[in-house]
C-alpha cells in the first residue's frame, strides 16, 4: 500500500458548547437539542442518530427550554422571547416577546392548541397556536417567585408549575391555582437556601413528579396535593426529568452527572399496587445533566460536558445488537474543516470566527513510525471575526486558497486573500440571490462559488478579480423543500453533486447548467459525497454506513458498488457509530478512496478483494507482522488506520501527504469547568 507523510494537526481548538435543553418528538423520531451558545441541532433517531440539521446560534439567544408541537419546534429563553424555527430553511422563523422577564420553561398541551411559558415575574403565560404564528391568550393567576418548570396534565385541564420552595397546580381554564405543594428544603446549611423545583412532570393518573435543587425526586398525589414518596438521589441538584410515553418509567438527571431511573412497578412480586421504584443509575457524564429525553427504548441525556449520550434500556432492546450499544455523540456530523489541497491550507470554522492556517513543512524522509523534523512550523495566517450577531453556519476555502466564503443565516460573505503579503479583502458586491447559504463550495479551479439555498436550490456565482456575478440557480425537479447539506464539485469542473436532508442526491452538469441525474434514493441520509477525478464516479456514504458508487456516465451503480452491496459490508464496519464525514481521492492511485470518521481513517483500495464476513476487518497489525509475500494473501480493500483520534478531518494534499486534524476528547474535557465536588476515595 505504501507510506504516507502525515501532518498531524492538533491546533484546532474546537470546543463544543454545553447542552442546555432537549425535546424529543416521538412521532417523527427527531430529537431537538439546544446548546448554550443558542445553536439548535436536530437528530434523526430513525436514521442512526444522524445529526440532520444544525441551526446556528446567535449572540444573546440563550435557549432554556424546547418544545415540539407536532412538527413545529419552539424554544424559549432567558432573553424573554419565544422562537419558532423554520426547519426547512434552518433559521428562526419568528420571535415573540412574552413580556414576563426571562422565560424558564415552555410546554404545550397534548392537544397542541396552547403553549404555556413560565416567566421570571411569576406568571404562566398562555399562547394560542395559530397556523403561522402564536398569539398571547392570557396569564394564569400570578404567583410570587419565578416559574421554573411547567407540565401539562395530558387532559389539558390542569397545569403544574415548579417554583421556589413549592409546586402550584393551576386550573388551565379558570387560570386559578388550585393546590399548593410545599417542597422541603435541603438539610443542614442549605436549609436557609430556597429550594428550586427544576423540573416537573404531570402524569395522566394525576401523579406529579418533581426534581429539585435539594437532590430529591418527589412523587406527589396531584388530586389531594399530598406528598407520596421522596427519593433522595443526589447531594446536589436534580436538574431534569423525563417520562416515557407510556408513563411506566421516568429518569432524573443530576448535577453529579448521573441519570437515575424510576419505574412504575410493583415493589414486591405478589403485590398488585404499583409504585415508583428507583431502579437504575447511569453515569455517563462528568458534569451536570441538564437535559433528558426518554424515548421508547433509550434514555438520552446531555449537559455541561457537551456530549449527547444515548443509553438504550436493556429491557427494551435486544441485547448485543447495535441498538443496545451505548452511543456518545461528541462531534458534529459535518465538517468544520476545509482543506485547500493545492495550497496546503486549512480553514477552521468556529461559531464566531474563522482561522486560516498553513501546515508546516519538513524535508527529509523517515521510516514508518518516525516523527520528521519540522522545518517550517504551521502558521496561523488569518483569524477572521464574523460580523453581526448570527453565528457562522458554513464556510469554504477555494482549492487555490485565494477565496474564502462564509455564511450566517442572514448573510454570505466572500473574501479575496493574497498570500505574498498576507491581505484579505471583502468582496463588496455580492449578487442578491446569494443571501444565505446552508453549504458553500468552490469549483476546483476556484472560478465558481456554489451556495446551497432554499428548497434544495444551488446558486452559482462566477468569481474573478473584477466582479462576482450570479450565473445560475440550479433547482432539483423533485421539488424538495429540504436544505442541501452536502455539495461537491468535480475536479474536471463538469459536475456538481448536492445531497439534501430528504436523502436525495442531485448531480448537475455544470457545462449545461442543468440537472444531469438523480441518484436512486437510499433510505439513509448521505453523510459524505465525492466525485472521482478520473472516472467521474460518485461515491456516497450514508448514515447507516453503506457505501455506494454511482457512475455518472452510465447513470447506474458501478460494478464495484454492486459487488459490495451483494457481498454486504463487514459487520464491524456497520457497527461503527460515527458517520463518515469526508471523502477524498488520491491523484496517484485512482483505485484509492480516502474516508474517515471520528475514530479512524480508511483507504479503500478498489483493486483488492472485499473483506468477507469472517475475515478480520482491522488487519493492519496482522499485516505488519507478516512477511511481505504473504501480505497480499491476507490484505483486503479496507485499510483502516486508528493511529489518530479523534478526527475532525482527514484530507489528502496535492503532494500526496495527508493532513489529519485531531481533537482529542480529553483536551475538550480538560477545558470544561470543574464538575461538582464529589467525595472520592482517599480525597
Amino acid at each position: 500500500m505504501g507510506e504516507f507523510k502525515v501532518h498531524r494537526v492538533r491546533f484546532f481548538d474546537y470546543m463544543p458548547s454545553a447542552i442546555r435543553a432537549m425535546a424529543f418528538n416521538s412521532r417523527t423520531e427527531r430529537l431537538a437539542v439546544a446548546r448554550a451558545d443558542g445553536a439548535l441541532e436536530i437528530f434523526n433517531f430513525a436514521d442512526h442518530y444522524f445529526q440532520e440539521k444544525v441551526i446556528p446560534g446567535q449572540d444573546g439567544r440563550a435557549v432554556e427550554a424546547l418544545c415540539w408541537v407536532g412538527q413545529r419546534l419552539f424554544s424559549a429563553g432567558l432573553n424573554g422571547e419565544i422562537t419558532e424555527y423554520d426547519l426547512e430553511n434552518m433559521r428562526p422563523r419568528y420571535t415573540v416577546e412574552a413580556y414576563g422577564g426571562p422565560i424558564w420553561t415552555i410546554s404545550s398541551n397534548s392537544q397542541g392548541t396552547l403553549l404555556a411559558v413560565g416567566c421570571e415575574d411569576g406568571t404562566v403565560k398562555m399562547f394560542e397556536l395559530l397556523d403561522e404564528r402564536i398569539r398571547f391568550q392570557r396569564n394564569l393567576e400570578r404567583q410570587k417567585g419565578r416559574i421554573i418548570s411547567l407540565s401539562w396534565h395530558p387532559s389539558g385541564t390542569l397545569i403544574a408549575a415548579g417554583m421556589m420552595d413549592m409546586i402550584r397546580i393551576f386550573d388551565a381554564e379558570t387560570g386559578h391555582a388550585t393546590h399548593r405543594l410545599l417542597v422541603e428544603r435541603g438539610a443542614g446549611a442549605s436549609k436557609s437556601k430556597e429550594v428550586v423545583v427544576w423540573s416537573i412532570a404531570f402524569l395522566s393518573d394525576h401523579t406529579i413528579v418533581s426534581g429539585d435543587s435539594a437532590g430529591k425526586v418527589q412523587i406527589w398525589d396531584g388530586l389531594t396535593g399530598t406528598l407520596v414518596k421522596t427519593h433522595l438521589v443526589t447531594k446536589w441538584d436534580v436538574l431534569a426529568l423525563a417520562v416515557s410515553q407510556d408513563e411506566s418509567s421516568l429518569v432524573a438527571g443530576t448535577s453529579e452527572g448521573t441519570v437515575v431511573q424510576f419505574q412504575f412497578i410493583a415493589s414486591t412480586v405478589d403485590q398488585q399496587d404499583k409504585e415508583w421504584v428507583r431502579t437504575r443509575t447511569f453515569k455517563n457524564h462528568s458534569h451536570d445533566v441538564r437535559a433528558l429525553a426518554h424515548t421508547e427504548t433509550a434514555v438520552v441525556s446531555g449537559g455541561m460536558d457537551t456530549q449527547l449520550v444515548v443509553r438504550p434500556l436493556l429491557d427494551k432492546v435486544e441485547k448485543n445488537t447495535q441498538e443496545s450499544a451505548l452511543r456518545k455523540i461528541a462531534f458534529p456530523h459535518r465538517s468544520l474543516v476545509c482543506c485547500a489541497k493545492k495550497a496546503g491550507l486549512l480553514l477552521f470554522q468556529f461559531p464566531d470566527h474563522l482561522e486560516l492556517w498553513r501546515v508546516g513543512e519538513s524535508d527529509g524522509l523517515g521510516k514508518p513510525g518516525d516523527s520528521l523534523p519540522v522545518k517550517r512550523n504551521p502558521e496561523k495566517l488569518i483569524q477572521l471575526k464574523r460580523k453581526g450577531e448570527d453565528h457562522i453556519c458554513c464556510s469554504a476555502l477555494s482549492p487555490c486558497g485565494g477565496w474564502l466564503a462564509y455564511s450566517t443565516v442572514s448573510a454570505v460573505r466572500l473574501y479575496r486573500i493574497q498570500y505574498n503579503n498576507i491581505s484579505i479583502t471583502k468582496v463588496s458586491k455580492l449578487p442578491k440571490d446569494l443571501r444565505s447559504a446552508h453549504q458553500l463550495c468552490f469549483s476546483s479551479d476556484s472560478s465558481k462559488l456554489f451556495a446551497s439555498s432554499s428548497h434544495s436550490s444551488v446558486v452559482i456565482v462566477s468569481l474573478n478579480q473584477l466582479e462576482c456575478k450570479h450565473l445560475h440557480t440550479l433547482k432539483p425537479r423533485s421539488g424538495s423543500r429540504q436544505p442541501v447539506h452536502l455539495l461537491f464539485a468535480s475536479e474536471d469542473g463538469k459536475w456538481l453533486a448536492a445531497a439534501n436532508a430528504d436523502c436525495e442526491i442531485h448531480v448537475y452538469n455544470l457545462h449545461k447548467l442543468k440537472l444531469h441525474c438523480t441518484v436512486p434514493v437510499h433510505s439513509s441520509c448521505p453523510t459524505a459525497i465525492a466525485i472521482h477525478p478520473v472516472t467521474s464516479n460518485l461515491v456516497v456514504v450514508h448514515a447507516d454506513q453503506q457505501i455506494f458508487e454511482y457512475s455518472l456516465m452510465q447513470k447506474e451503480y458501478t460494478e464495484w458498488s454492486r459487488k459490495l452491496q451483494k457481498q454486504g459490508l463487514h459487520s464491524l464496519w456497520l457497527e461503527r457509530d460515527t458517520p463518515v464525514t469526508h471523502i477524498s481521492y488520491s491523484p496517484k492511485n485512482p483505485a484509492h478512496i480516502f474516508l474517515h470518521d471520528m475514530f479512524m481513517f480508511c483507504i479503500i483500495d478498489q483493486s483488492l478483494p472485499l473483506p468477507e464476513a469472517k475475515t478480520m476487518l482491522y488487519n493492519q497489525m496482522t499485516l505488519r507482522s507478516l512477511p511481505e509475500p504473504e501480505r497480499i494473501r491476507h490484505s483486503h480493500a479496507f485499510k483502516i488506520c486508528k493511529n489518530f483520534q479523534h478526527l475532525l478531518c482527514v484530507s489528502l494534499l496535492e503532494d500526496h501527504s495527508l493532513v489529519v486534524v485531531e481533537r482529542p476528547l480529553l483536551d475538550i474535557m480538560s477545558q470544561l469547568p470543574a464538575p461538582v465536588r464529589q467525595k472520592k476515595f482517599a480525597t
Partner: protein, 619 residues
Amino acid sequence: MAALYEGYTLCGLVPAQTLPNSGIQGVETERDSDHVIVTDSTRSVTLYKVSDQKPLSSWTVKQGQTLTCSAVYSSQSKEFVAVSDSKVIRIWKEEDILLDKAFKATVSADVWRVHCVPEGEPVVLFQRGAVRLLDSLLSAPQQPIEEVLAQEEAIRWSTNILAESKQFVIFTTEQKGDHFLYLQRLNPNTLQRYRLEREEPGLSPLSFSASYRDNHIRLLYLYPNGHVYQSVVSMRGLGADEGAQALPLPRNLLLGLPVGEGLLEAASALVLDEAHVAVVGVPHPSAGAGKDFLCIWNTNFQTLQAGKEMAGKIYGQLWGYSNKLFIPHGKTLSVIPYECPKSSLAAALGKLKQAKTEGELTQIWSTATTQAATSLTIDQVLEVTKMAPVEEVQKEVEGLLSRADIQDLQASLGQLASTLVSRSLADPAFYTPSTLAQLVHTQSLCHSVCPDLVLLALEKKDYFLCQLCLQFFPDIPEAVTCACLKLHRNEVLRTPYSDTFLLPHLKDLSSQQVVLFLQYLQFLYLKYSQDASTQMHGLRSPSLTQIMDWVCLLLDAHFTVLVMTPEAKGLLLNLHCFVKSQVRLVSELGKIEGSLQELNKMKVKKDVGQYSIEVIELF
C-alpha cells in the same frame, strides 16, 4: 502489664451534702470474694453480691443510733459484728431481720474498730489503743480497758493481718505531728511501737496500707506531696525487746507520684501485690491536673501500668478484695476489676522507652574519661583485680582503660574480664558492674572470651550489663539468648541468631512467657509502624523486620501450645487479622501491578504536541 477493666456500679451513694466523705464507712469481704458488706456512715449495713450488683440484705440501727465502725463478718461463727454509738457491740446472723432484736453488749470504753481476717477471730481495737479478742471481751463486757496511747495521741488508721498464723493488729497514731506505728500481736500479746520519719513539716500521711510477705510486714503510706514510702518490719526480731520506747522506722521512697498543682487532699494508695500499687485521687501523668484518676503503678520500675478516669468527686477511699477495687466516686460506689500479672522488665521498659539506659550510658562514659593518676601495668591491674576491694579495682581498671591503647590490650582485657567474672562468681559480695560495663564497651570482648559474663549479669539481675553484652557480643549462643529472653528484652531481638539453633531453645519458654513476649513484640510493632521516626531516634531498637522475624519464630516454636492457651486467643486473633490484612494488601497491590507498569510504559510515550509530521505505513 497490669490492667484495669471496665467497672460497674455496686450501689449509689447518699453523701451528705456538705461533708467531704463519701457516706461509706467501710467495705469488708463476707463469705467469699463475691460478697461484700458495705457500712454507710450513719445507720445501715448492706450485704451485696458483687457480680450481680445486687443487695442481698440490709440492716439498720434505730433512729438516733449511729454505727461507729464498719461491720465485719466472722467466717468462723458466720456472724456479723458492728459497733453502734462507740460502745454497743452488735452481733447478728444473716437470717436476723431486725438489728434491734439481735445480740448487743455494751462495753466500758469507746471502740475504734472491729477487725476480722478471714478464718480469724474478730478483734476489737479500742480508741485508746487497747486490743481484745471479741470472745474474751464479750465474756465480761464491762471489764476495764487499759489506756495504751499517750495523751493527745489518737488512732488514725488500723488494720489486722494474719502473719505466720498469728494475728496482728496494726494501727497508726498521731501525736503532735509525729506519727507512730503500733504492731500488736495477739496470743501471746506483744506490742511494738515505731516512730515514722517526718516528712516535710505539716504533712501527715493520707493513707496507709499494710501487707505481709516473706516474713516482713510492709507498710505503704502516701503523703500529700505524692511520695509513697514503704517501711518494712521484720517478724523475726519482733517482741524481743518490748518497751514503750518508740523505735525509728526506716522507710524508702517507692514512688514519687505527680501531684499536679498543690498537694493531694483526698487520695489513697493500696498495695495490690509485691510490685503494684493502686492509687486513687492522684493526677494521671499524661492527662493534666485532674485528680480523679485510679491508677496502677509498678513500684519496681516506677511505671504507670494502667489508669482510669473516675467520674465525679474522689473521696480518697479505696478498698481491694480479690482482684476487685471498690471505689466511691461521685454518687456511686464502683467495682473495678483489675489484673496484675507478674511484672516484667519488658513491659516496664516498653513504657520507659529506654530513656533511662541511655542516661546511664553517658554517665558511665563521663566517669571513664576522668583520668586516674596512678599508672599500673596490665599485670599489676590483674593482680589488683584478684585481691583488692571493689573501689580499688574500679579505679585501676578505669585508669588502665583511659590510658592505654585498647587495641594492644585486647587479650589482656579478656583475661581481666574473666578474672573479674570468676571472682564475682566465687565471692557474692564482690561485684563491679561499672567496670564490667566499661570492659564490654571497649568492644574487645566476646562471649567466648568470658563465657560466664552474661550469666553473671543475669544472676546479678544487672540488666544494663546484659543489654550491653547483647549489644556488643557477636557470638552469644542461642541457649544464652533464650536465658536472657526469659528475663528481658529489646537488645535480645537485635542479636544475631540462626533459626535452626534458636528454635529448640525457644521451645523451653513457658506459654505465659511466650504470650507475654508476643504481646511485647506486638506492642513494639504497633509502636514502630505508627511512628516510623521513633525508630530513627532509638538507635538501639530492633527493626520492624527483626520484630516480625521474632514473632514468626515464636509462633513456629509454640504454635500448638498457643492455640490451646485461652489467654493467647485474643493475641493470636489479632495477629491473624493483621496477617490477613497484609495478605489482602499485597494481593491488591499485585492486582494493580500490571496497571502501574502500564502507567510506566505510557509515560514513555511522548507527548504529541500541537503539530508534528509523521510517517505511517499502511499495508
